[in-house]
């Protein structure tokens, strides 16, 4: 249990440290160190859970089970690699004069603040605190979206703030209804604890929980970026600093989906129907198709990949909605590979736009000729996210497709169509960017591409063969969520 407290304490100290110490030349390095230490703490926690099974802290405030522990490790890992990327990236932004000391201080403090709220979302056992932490994540990142203070970034941040704030208010209403249902079966003090609710799920009033789930799905769905509540996502991703886009896409969206799935487990237990699953399938499929179609219209490279995030989050929501062991396993795997690939892509995109001095895709050209590492990184990342074998995204998308064919065969053509459209949308933009001639005067920049290589290497590994302990881990989580092993 100490490990769980450590996981929360380290970012908290980090936030206080950056806020009090102000910006220093080695803030970036400290950010890396803090995240590295936390990765070790999460691994320790994961080993504990693997050995002893679910851990419930004294007072039941924290719950670590196979489902959230793998997301915790993933969060720490992406947090670390993004921090490694962020240090030289932010130094470059300082040199070009887009940022100053005060804003970098804010950036580093809020980076840790964001990590803290992510860990809190994942570890807490209290559905109310889950909401508070989710809102905390918005508050921590909203000023980072407007870090450059351009009119566009202020607009994006305002939109993000208002839309996510209003959206997540719906989730609080859902949580209140959940509490109301729990109080009726009489457990005053522990009425919002997930573990208690889950044990008594069959006694909860199904009518109230049905209404509650609609609000919870809308609320957390805004954060997942489900269509039609997705408008903030491309703006916030494209206008903020790129390390922020990487963690937003790789972590925040996952954690919002995690919140929905936790609630779905309660609602399923109470209603004994597929109502929650159907809602998730509907919204998921809609987001998937709309995201794929919108890929074609984009001009800004970061907007392009945010729509790709919407598309993939839609697919995961859809897969969790189908339920059943196979689909759940696929969704869990897809969460992992999407996080890894998407954050790797944002890292290369960040370097590419620094290299070209713009985010406009019509002006970024000849990446491979200028700096092969960035060009190939972007190309391989795109190949991977589009779902080509032998990468992990292929495996998980294939499993989702398989599960769909088994349960709802008539939906499979839609999925295939969406994958095809998304593939075309990505490659029509990326192909001229990586190939093609190098514009005059475009010089290579100092870039750290280790995070990209590690991420893509892992995705490749997951695609070729899922290591035994990880498969075991996913199976335990699947067993927990869907009630039977894959």
């Amino acid at each position: 249990m100490i490990a769980a407290y450590l996981v929360l304490l380290i970012p908290l100290t980090g936030m206080a440290f950056f806020a009090l110490a102000g910006h220093r030349a080695d803030s970036g390095a400290w950010n890396i160190r803090l995240n590295a230490v936390n990765l070790i703490a999460t691994l320790w926690l994961a080993i504990n859970v693997l050995r002893e099974g679910t851990i419930l802290s004294a007072g039941k405030a924290f719950l670590i089970d196979p489902f959230n522990v793998y997301l915790i490790v993933l969060t720490a890992f992406v947090g670390l690699t993004t921090a490694i990327f962020s240090a030289p990236y932010m130094a470059h932004e300082m040199e070009t004069g887009r940022l100053n000391d005060a804003r970098l201080k804010l950036y580093h403090a809020m980076y840790q603040g964001f990590m803290l709220s992510m860990y809190l979302v994942l570890t807490t056992n209290n559905m109310g605190i889950l909401w508070v932490a989710m809102e905390g994540a918005t508050l921590a990142t909203v000023l980072l979206v407007s870090l450059y203070r351009t009119p566009e970034s202020v607009e994006a941040a305002w939109k993000y703030f208002i839309l996510c704030g209003v959206g997540i208010a719906q989730a609080l209403f859902g949580t209140i209804l959940l509490y109301y249902a729990a109080e009726q079966i009489g457990s005053e003090e522990n009425a919002l604890l997930w573990s208690v609710l889950y044990e008594n799920a069959d006694k909860l009033n199904p009518e109230v929980l049905k209404i509650a789930f609609v609000f919870l799905l809308i609320g957390y769905g805004t954060k997942i970026g489900l269509v039609p509540l997705h408008n903030w996502l491309p703006d916030a991703h494209s206008e903020g600093p790129t390390p922020m886009s990487a963690v937003l896409s790789g972590l925040l969206l996952n954690d919002a989906l995690y919140a929905v799935v936790r609630n779905k487990m309660l609602v399923d237990g109470a209603t004994q129907s597929d109502m929650a699953g159907f809602l998730m399938m509907g919204f998921g499929l809609l987001s998937f198709l709309v995201g794929a179609l919108f890929l074609h219209r984009q001009k800004d490279i970061k907007r392009l990949f945010s729509y790709s995030s919407i598309e993939h989050m839609g697919m995961m929501t859809f897969a969790f909605g189908i339920g059943g062991p196979l689909a759940t396993f696929a969704a869990l795997l897809h969460m992992t590979v999407h996080s890894l690939t998407k954050s790797a892509i944002f890292v290369t995109v960040g370097h590419a736009s620094q290299l070209a001095g713009t985010q406009n895709m019509e002006k970024i050209r000849g990446l491979i000729k200028t700096q092969p590492a960035i060009g190939w990184g972007l190309l391989i990342g795109t190949v991977s996210i589009a779902g080509f074998p032998p990468f992990g995204v292929f495996t998980s998308e294939f499993l989702v497709l398989l599960a769909t064919m088994r349960s709802y065969p008539w939906l499979a053509p839609l999925l295939l169509l969406g994958i095809g459209i998304a593939f075309a949308g990505l490659f029509r933009h990326i192909q001229p960017i990586v190939y093609g001639d190098r514009p005059e005067g475009q010089q290579p920049i100092k870039a750290n591409l280790w995070p990209v290589m590690i991420h893509l290497g892992l995705v490749l590994w997951l695609g070729l063969a899922i290591p035994g302990f990880l498969a075991d881990w996913f199976s335990q989580a699947t067993l927990l969520i869907s009630g039977s092993a894959p």
Binding site: N126, G128, E152, F173, N205, R297
Partner: protein, 225 residues
């Protein structure tokens, strides 16, 4: 249900629910920013009163804390901050011309009916009072959204946002006698941070577009220009 047969607490809650709903409608039709903020403070006060009434009737001490929190945050601090911003930016004389006010008001009324409609299944398992309270709080939330849609000033958007939170708190108090203390403190903290961030944003928006009219925030869109 005859209202005279109910106990005093239930009657009080019902009247307060009606008043809270009324303040939402008042805000919806208000074009002057300072008056809008005043009505918002009144709504906050009614909310604090509801919390205090609940605390008294249940003799639940943590609800008193929550009432005090509401009083400080929603009645004093946030309205004061907003008022100061409005005065500083010299916007207190502007009257926002609300386009098709009648349609917005009718829309508000139908939102209220809609809230009753979706929450109706709850009546099977609990009292009619609970239905009223939950439906009013849901409609306060929806009216807050409508306020944000129909007004163009960033300050009005913040008022709408905060009034959505008011609706949530009303539901939490009446339906469940308050959330667990730790959650309530967390939510209050989030509201406070949000209020501070809004203040920072007013400054940013003003420096970037030289106005607080959010209709001018239109650079990012999917439509080709």
């Amino acid at each position: 249900m005859n209202i005279e047969q109910l106990d005093f607490y239930t009657q009080a809650i019902l009247s307060l629910a009606a008043l809270v709903g009324l303040t939402s409608f008042l805000m919806l039709g208000q074009g002057r920013l300072l008056r809008l903020i005043f009505v918002f403070a009144v709504q906050g006060f009614l909310l604090a009163l509801t919390t205090a009434a609940a605390a008294y009737s249940l003799s639940n001490y943590h609800l008193y804390i929550s009432a005090a929190l509401t009083l400080v945050l929603k009645v004093i601090l946030i309205p004061w901050m907003l008022r100061r911003q409005v005065l500083k930016m010299n916007m207190h004389r502007d009257v926002e011309a609300l386009s098709n006010n009648t349609a917005v008001m009718l829309g508000g009324a139908s939102l209220m009916l809609f809230s009753y409609y979706i929450l109706h299944p709850i009546v099977q398992t609990s009292s009619l009072v609970m239905l009223n309270a939950l439906a009013v709080s849901l409609s306060v939330m929806l009216l807050g959204m409508l306020l944000m849609i129909s007004h163009r000033q960033a300050v009005a958007h913040v008022v709408g946002f905060m009034s959505i939170e008011n609706g949530l708190f009303f539901a939490a108090i009446v339906a469940t006698h308050g959330m667990p203390m730790v959650v309530e403190l967390g939510v209050a903290f989030d509201v406070l941070v949000a209020a501070v961030l809004f203040g920072i944003f007013f400054l940013h928006i003003r420096t970037s577009i030289d106005s607080l009219d959010v209709d001018l925030l239109n650079r990012l869109s999917e439509v080709d220009k």
